[in-house]
Symmetry: C2
Subunit: 349 residues, 2 copies
DNA sequence: GCTTTTGTCGGTAACGTACCCGAAAAATAT
DNA sequence: ATATTTTTCGGGTACGTTACCGACAAAAGC
């Protein structure tokens, strides 16, 4: 493995000059620069990352902008663990991870955290884009300062982000359509349940994207399952109970229930309490509450996307882009795992 | 972050002396050694891996002892990819991976490769223990020379290996029992199919361990499914066809077929050709042949264990043990993924 | 008494890269 | 012509660790 020393010897210049063209800094004539570049190409020079990290006094700061972990957003426990795992591995490489946690129901808290992020002037940003307009503003700031940013869990495709880490949301809805069709064939009635304080911006809303995917399956397969839906903005168990009671009163022939996010546990609680345990129920995320109902047989399927792995890969993508300068795939689509009562004991988040 | 320099300053010795006690080499009096060790503890000193790798001229050689990839052992393509992925990442750390590929049906070829491995005098060994006695011999050699070794894909529990990377084989058979019971309830007849040239050594044989797991499910659940079985030692498609024809003639009431390894594709071929596509069929491994029949609906479930990930983790475990000296879990059980027609497009090996 | 061995320790050159500082050379101004 | 600026480059030190070489004493052998 040839290094700068060998390049300098061949080019008949000093190491410092080689170093200058490698980092394309000023102070090298065009002539010698091209001469050195040719030698670099010829030797297929790969800088020694070990030596580089040791010599470089640069410290890298990565900002992480995700919801804080609460009862309602228990999902984010796993990505945070993955982020911490990556942080531990990269600590030796002078990488500091700064988490900025916001309330996924409070736009203001997101805006506030964004301000803190910008004040930090990080070398990379990992962000869960819950609030589209505000995330776009952040992204524009990053683009202006040439700071790479990675989206996790859901995407904003038109932005020139470094990459997206997460599931193909549309496809995961589509998969749920297939599963329902598999278990409860034509023409049983399906209830779609969206539980979220804020349900709008159809283009980028995770929940609505999944619903789209679900519906598109039945359209493409030419199936005539009737689909009814309810958007529940009062996200307490009481609010869910109330809303679902009404739905089942209006539609007693519902055979399957699709919950577009991790709140499927609360829906399961309602179904159990109202003696509807035999209804086919599926939803998202490997959370304690959900697993309990999965084991009881109230929930039939959980769709999961390895959230810990997402957090880990998110940080690693930033690292590869910022530090290693190796190309990263702009899409890092996670597998869509089907977790059932049978295999849930062996699932790894 | 304090380093050797700081330790030396506090102990009032040179860094050379500190280095000697860190690597517990000779040449340090007990008194100063304990003094330095105390300071090391107090400071919670963590050696800088970057600097260590740069300064150390040591090159590490890891031997990988797995079956070569063939039509019959297509499974091993993925672990090899994972191993190569790890090799690429660790190349910067002066780690060389040496694959030694053997024929899983030829004990002699395994013995020959073991000899080559021993000649290399590697710093670590990753081995798929297909031949138990011969693997034990290798392990004894390793123990004698203090060379760590990792088992991949299947385990030999009594040996003091560094760790095992792979599924809980017994549990994956148990899971299959649950799945069969779920789809084809009591008391439908089940056929167990073992396809392998060598079927013995019940204690460590993957196939028989899975069969045990399957049977134990029905025993524990108190189900009365009749189970018949066939061991197919002529592993050609023709041999499989012949054996299964006989089984189905003797037992026309078979409702489910469990194939204990990746040869489920060949079984599917037989079922399709003999017009038995409606029989519930499940087996192992995400291989092209199998996926094709999964999509056709001949195979109902494939059980997979992220073989690429296994190879990757195997090498990484060796690295952590040998180079980083960080503790590694003695068991690294992979998740037991259920792959169906619905989610197979999104599976990542 | 001497030499030789053994036990302790310090000094220091690497490892491959980053980057500061100052010098030489070239270009421009006076 | 000289003085001044600008461009171009090399020397050298640092990063934190490894590991070799040798210094110096005390202990052992003659």
């Amino acid at each position: 493995m040839a290094g700068v020393k060998e390049i300098a010897r061949r080019a008949n210049v000093s190491i410092a000059t080689v170093d200058r063209v490698i980092h394309n800094r000023t102070g090298v004539s065009e002539k010698t620069k091209s001469r050195i570049n040719k030698i670099i190409d010829d030797l297929n020079y790969q800088p020694n990352l070990i030596a580089r990290t040791l010599a470089s006094r640069k410290v890298f700061d990565f900002a992480v902008l995700i919801p804080h972990v609460s009862d309602e957003s228990d999902y984010w426990r796993a990505p945070l663990l993955g982020i911490e795992k990556a942080a531990a591995e990269l600590q030796q490489f002078r990488i500091n991870i700064h988490p900025f946690l916001f309330d996924q129901n409070e736009k203001e808290s997101f805006i506030k955290q964004v301000e803190m992020v910008l004040k930090l002037r990080p070398d990379g940003v990992l962000v869960a884009p819950y609030f589209i307009d505000e995330t776009v503003a952040l992204a524009n700031h990053c683009d202006a300062t040439n700071t790479p940013y990675v989206f996790i869990n859901s995407d904003i495709p038109d932005l020139p982000s470094t990459c997206y880490i997460g599931p193909d949301i549309y496809q995961s809805g589509y998969l749920c359509g297939e599963l329902i069709d598999y278990i409860a064939p034509d023409p049983s009635k399906i209830l779609v349940v969206n539980v979220s304080k804020e349900i709008k911006a159809p283009r980028y809303n995770r929940l609505l994207r999944k619903e789209e995917g679900l519906r598109s399956y039945f359209k493409q397969a030419g199936k005539a399952h009737p689909i009814v839906k309810t958007d529940i903005r009062n996200t307490t168990d009481e609010g869910i109970r109330k809303s679902l009671s009404k739905m089942f009163k209006d539609h007693p022939d519902i055979r399957s229930v699709f919950v577009s996010n991790s709140r499927v546990g609360s829906v399961a609680r309602f179904l159990e309490e109202s003696g509807r345990g035999d209804i086919f129920l599926l939803g998202f995320d490997f959370l304690e509450d959900n697993i309990a109902y999965l084991k009881k047989g109230i929930i039939d399927f959980l769709i999961c996307n390895r959230p810990l792995e997402q957090g880990y890969r998110g940080i690693m993508s930033l690292y590869r882009d910022v530090v290693v300068h190796s190309p990263v795939d702009s899409q890092n689509l996670m597998p869509i795992d089907i977790v059932t009562r049978q295999n849930c004991n062996y699932y790894q988040i």
